[in-house]
Symmetry: none
Subunit: 214 residues, 4 copies
């Protein structure tokens, strides 16, 4: 059995310069992952890409995994913020339109740095970050959950399923280079899922009010 990875940041970088250094390291890490993949992700490479020395890197992160975790948190927070904003904007329009907005947000996020997104998604599980309270996806799921609850979809899996449907579809499409009309395809997948689940007599979700249908 391997010891659980150390992922806690070493210190709260309150000062401005320290904050900048941390940001530089995370961005260096992101760039390495994008260009070299998981294989090229080593502390020397990250330090080099960040323009700092390994020593400095260890000043701010207790180990390699902590850098990974920091990067995952950074990306998750960025996505959460964008999604939060999108969800607010989507609270008025009819369901189909609202879903389209959220789908577009997800596509935009993942398409910006596809290789990075995919690696972080994979690593997130290895690090067991999904268990953390202040977790990455937890925030995303919460936003989606709230959005869906408002619309009457309150099944226990609706938010999580929607998230993974979208993520899987987008990820696969980017890999294949099949990006045409991707937002619409994502929206169709999520919306189709929600409709069928609520239409069915199953135990999953209560029927939304008819007015909400597409």
């Amino acid at each position: 059995m391997a010891a659980p990875p150390v992922v806690a940041p070493r210190k709260r970088p309150a000062q401005g310069r320290a904050r900048q250094t941390v940001a530089a390291i995370l961005e260096g890490a992101a760039r390495i992952l994008e260009t070299e993949g998981l294989e090229g992700f080593n502390t020397n490479a990250v330090a080099g890409a960040a323009g700092v020395s390994v020593g400095s890197l260890y000043q701010y992160f207790p180990g390699k995994d902590a850098i990974m975790a920091g990067l995952i948190r950074r990306e998750a927070q960025a996505f959460r913020e964008r999604l939060d904003e999108a969800a607010r904007a989507a609270s008025g329009p009819p369901l189909a339109e609202a879903i389209a907005v959220l789908a577009a947000t997800a596509v935009a996020h993942q398409a910006a740095r596809p290789r990075l997104a995919r690696i972080l998604d994979f690593e997130e599980r290895r690090l067991g970050l999904s268990g953390e309270a202040e977790d990455a996806d937890a925030g995303v799921a919460a936003i989606l959950s709230a959005f869906l609850a408002e619309r009457g979809f309150s099944g226990p899996n609706a938010a999580g399923d929607a998230m993974h449907i979208a993520r899987g579809l987008i990820d696969g499409a980017l890999e294949r280079g099949a990006v045409e009309d991707l937002e619409r395809r994502v929206a169709a997948a999520v919306l189709g899922y929600l409709q069928l689940m609520s239409a069915a007599p199953g135990q999953e979700a209560p029927s939304p009010s008819p007015a909400e249908r597409v």
Copy 2:
């Protein structure tokens, strides 16, 4: 630039004993990935788990990556066979029922060894195996494509999207432990996607004949 990984098998194990050894190595590799993850996947561990020496391992595989590739091929072929059978069984019934059969097949496959499935999926891209003509997902996509074409869904992305929707959903659900009613959720996601895409006036797919609707 990293050199492309070596993934071709070293020799064709025609004899019985050799075939057994190769099988043992692949199963050893699978077990290591399941229990130790990608981090614990090293040639000594694989050889140990397979009950053979490292030397034997290198007799049949030119390197570490080739073992990974071999395992990916093995799993892909197994899935392809199961899916092929399911697709034949599903050629008669109405669409919804047919999709349910395929969904159940996918769930069964991925749930059998979830961690393994996820890691292989990730590694497949790193190794660039998806480019191979005779490869893993290509076969799966072909089966799906044929199935969908019969039903009138011939969009360029239908098969690929369906595959990734299902994979993403199943993978995420297994990770969260949200397995209740999973087959139905997968079927709903795929079916919902297909219906909405064909219903829309977009450029994606021609409307299937009305009789095919749900």
Copy 3:
């Protein structure tokens, strides 16, 4: 076909400490070759003999062959310097005496660490270092060439042949333990060769001025 060996040094050790480390590694390598031969020449042994860790070794040399190459360069330069000095000292006296001085230099160099000299000579060819412009033997040959040209021996092979005659004779003598009077034997071999080649009506060398004879 084997890939050409990597022999370029990894970094230029400008600082004092680094220069010391590099020197220690080369001397460690020399000692291993002397005591254990080519068979015992492995990176761990070299690092151990040098009193550094393998990691440090790889900090300065990109691989095993580069250490060998570094050692070859070190020895070649040392010999070149001694020979250069000897050649200057030998520019005045009559030919026989001058040759004796050079022969003594060669004997002294090779007898100091005979096993090392022999192994380096062998390895130099494997590494293909003799092709380098600025290299090992090139310098030695150039010095000899200049010396011989001054004396009127300008055949295309005079310098190279003299070098190899001396090297072969010294090497063989040291191996047999037949060191008595070795300098004189070497001088005789070289001088005898030069005289006969210039005396002959062949196409090799122009006759030196009569005053230069013996």
Copy 4:
């Protein structure tokens, strides 16, 4: 300290087929050394080049070094025979001519397979074969010694020195590609050495009778 290498042949191959197998192995070894060098010289490669299995190889040779030793003996004997013949033919003519014949023999032998000759020469020392009574070079030296004694050169080093002078010169010339007129250069080196050594008032060799002078 390393154990002394095992070089004794495993059994006297009396039968015809066995003798053929041994010959095949030695020739396979020779070809590997010529094409791949010492680095590519491994038992599998040799067995492959010889067209036999590793198992058979170990049937006739107790280990890798024994193959090397066997090859060294084979080449030494072949050279000895040629040289012996040449020495007989050279017993009549004047010294210069006789030396020319021997030099040509040496050049022919070494030029036939230069890389092989050089590697065997190097390995011969590692294996400590020169100590053996029935040794490789011993025979060659004996032939030369007899030849030189007949001519009045009986110094203790004459034969050995002549051999190494010739070997070094030929080897170096082949390496540089400077083969023009090589026989004459070799003859000049050897003859020049002998003349000067006997002319000198030193302790090395008695003056040969004046009639023998070139």
